[in-house]
């Protein structure tokens, strides 16, 4: 549904994205994950036909975003990073206007439906300028889905919402899967694992990883990690655990709590359990710990930075932390 090949965009001499290639199948929900100023918004702006790339091609529903821009735009619903709203308009008339502009045959009914599914029914006659941030975000989402588009491009759709609204919006997006293709950007990691079937991690304008949230967590772990808690640890507990075949390292994080790293091909869990029960330490907990997306994200983005620094040679770089520096475009 979306095919992107070697997409590059420069703002003047500054590269926003470099050689980005990706493809999204019909009905898929794909998450675009990255720190601020990584190039998420730029990629989405190109996909939505808002601006042309410097090099490379992007096709949506088989149409080139440059050559057949209007055909692409007919088929997408787009929620930009700054929610584009006219404060002087009422919710209903704004949605009717957007529906009509996108060529919906019956804008009034489409607006009604969109308000219903975004929980805006009780605010339909309110001026957008008087709405709270959460409601504005919903209006933005409603205008993106009003014409029932094949492809939805959502730039940080849950930003500014409270936890309950976030869950509602996530469910709404999940409900769109199958019939709609969705590409959404976020820097909230749990969001990706909850909503998306596939994740792309983008950093400094390049895609650094791409996989399902589960496989991404697995792939980065060369070893399995176990969390063990016992009630009455003996003094030699650590060394005893280290002696178990398959155990690579043991760290005691707090009295009775151990982080054990083990080889993937030699699962020591049964032997560890036998050892603890046999010594009478009182087994409270024994579970594998998955590397969280947060850790993966940090690993990937910092590894990348470290490698880049190595390549550049021993220069002193005052690199802005994610979230600072140049605004995400």
């Amino acid at each position: 549904m979306i095919e992107v090949e070697h997409l590059t965009k420069y703002y003047g001499a500054v590269p926003a994205i470099q050689d980005v290639s990706l493809s999204v199948n019909k009905g898929e929900i794909v998450g675009f994950l990255g720190p601020n100023s990584a190039g998420k918004t730029t990629t989405m702006r190109i996909l939505s036909g808002y601006m042309p790339p410097t090099a490379g091609t992007a096709r949506v529903a088989g149409y080139d975003v440059m050559r057949d821009s209007l055909e692409v735009r007919r088929r997408i619903g787009y929620l930009p990073e700054t929610v584009p709203l006219y404060p002087e308009m009422a919710v209903r008339s704004y949605l009717e206007y957007m529906g009509a502009l996108r060529g919906v045959a019956k804008p009034a009914q489409a607006a009604e439906r969109a308000m219903e599914s975004c929980g805006l029914a009780d605010r339909r006659e309110m001026l957008i300028g008087k709405l709270s941030k959460g409601y504005r975000q919903r209006v933005g989402l409603a205008q993106a889905i009003i014409h029932d588009p094949e492809v939805l491009i959502l730039d940080e759709p849950t930003i500014g919402l409270d936890p309950r609204q976030i869950i509602e919006v996530r469910n709404l997006i999940k409900g769109l899967a199958g019939s709609h293709t969705v590409i959404l950007s976020t820097h909230i990691l749990p969001e990706v694992s909850q909503v998306c079937q596939r994740v792309m991690i983008i950093n400094k304008g390049r895609i650094v990883a791409e996989d399902t949230p589960e496989r991404l967590t697995g792939r980065l772990r060369g070893a399995q990690q176990l969390h063990i808690q016992v009630a009455r640890p003996a003094g030699d507990a650590r060394t005893a655990l280290e002696a178990v075949p398959g155990v690579l390292t043991v760290a005691e994080t707090s009295p009775g709590c151990f982080e054990v790293e083990s080889a993937l091909d030699n699962d020591p869990r049964t032997k560890i359990a036998e050892l603890i029960v046999g010594r009478g330490w009182g087994l409270l907990e024994l579970r594998p710990v998955g590397m969280s997306l947060e850790e993966i994200f940090l690993t990937l983005t910092t590894e990348d930075a470290a490698r880049a620094a190595e390549e550049d040679g021993p220069t002193i770089s005052i690199d802005a932390a994610p979230g600072e520096g140049r605004r995400d475009r």
Partner: protein, 237 residues
């Protein structure tokens, strides 16, 4: 076409939900009323001619106020991103915006129709020059407003847009003065470009196709340039 009308309608509605339309119309009506009274008192003639020439001066000030927000505000608030990713051509956006401003100008002119009606009630004005004068104001207004649309596509700052629009229109309005500085065909060219020269005959009841075509060309050319600027600014993001 459909999208153009949708955009024009929304824009027109937005004029009336903000104070702009009311403020500009009120100021315009007060000034026109004042001038109508003064001219009538001094000349004692049942004619709109002198008033029409004065109205063109207000047009130079009021036009930029009507057009400054058209594109600049959308750029500032980010709604431009919505408009440029909707299945609508850039030209349709520009023409829609221009139409909204022109309709508001036409409405303001319509409100001044009370003065020729007053003249008719108490005197015997010649209707021909009045009608051609209004046509002239509509055409000259269209030209000034289209220049304002160009200025509004250039920047996200409304004040800059207004100033550029004012500068452009004033320069074109007074372009004929250059014929006294530069003689020959160059001078004639500048005289031809003058918005005021082409207006001169209209309040006298003379509708010259050359003048009408001149104003229409200015409008078409400006809207074309505005469309290209909008397209070009996509590249900058």
């Amino acid at each position: 076409m459909r999208a153009t009308w949708l955009i024009a309608r929304r824009e027109l509605a937005s004029y009336f939900t903000s104070p702009i339309a009311y403020a500009v119309t009120a100021v315009f009506m007060v000034i026109v009323g004042y001038f109508f009274g003064m001219i009538l008192y001094l000349s004692r003639e049942a004619t709109m001619r002198y008033l029409f020439y004065n109205v063109t001066t207000f047009l130079l000030l009021i036009g930029p106020a009507l057009t400054m927000r058209l594109v600049a505000e959308e750029r500032k608030s980010g709604t431009i991103e919505l408009l440029l990713t909707a299945p609508v051509r850039d030209g349709e956006v520009i023409v829609g915006k221009f139409l909204a401003a022109l309709l508001l100008w036409a409405l303001m002119l319509a409100l001044t129709l009370v003065y020729p009606l007053l003249l008719r009630a108490f005197g015997n004005p010649d209707p021909g020059p009045i009608l051609s004068g209004y046509l002239g104001l509509l055409l000259a207004g269209g030209a000034v407003l289209s220049l304002g649309v160009v200025a509004s596509t250039l920047t996200a700052n409304q004040i800059v847009a207004a100033l550029v629009a004012f500068g452009l229109s004033l320069m074109l309005w007074l372009a004929d003065a250059l014929q006294y500085v530069v003689s020959g065909p160059v001078g004639q060219f500048f005289a031809y470009l003058s918005l005021s020269v082409h207006f001169a005959d209209l309040p006298k009841g003379v509708i010259d196709t050359k003048d009408v075509i001149f104003y229409l060309s200015i409008i078409v050319a400006s809207l074309f340039v505005a469309t290209r600027i909008l397209e070009a600014r996509r590249w900058k993001g």
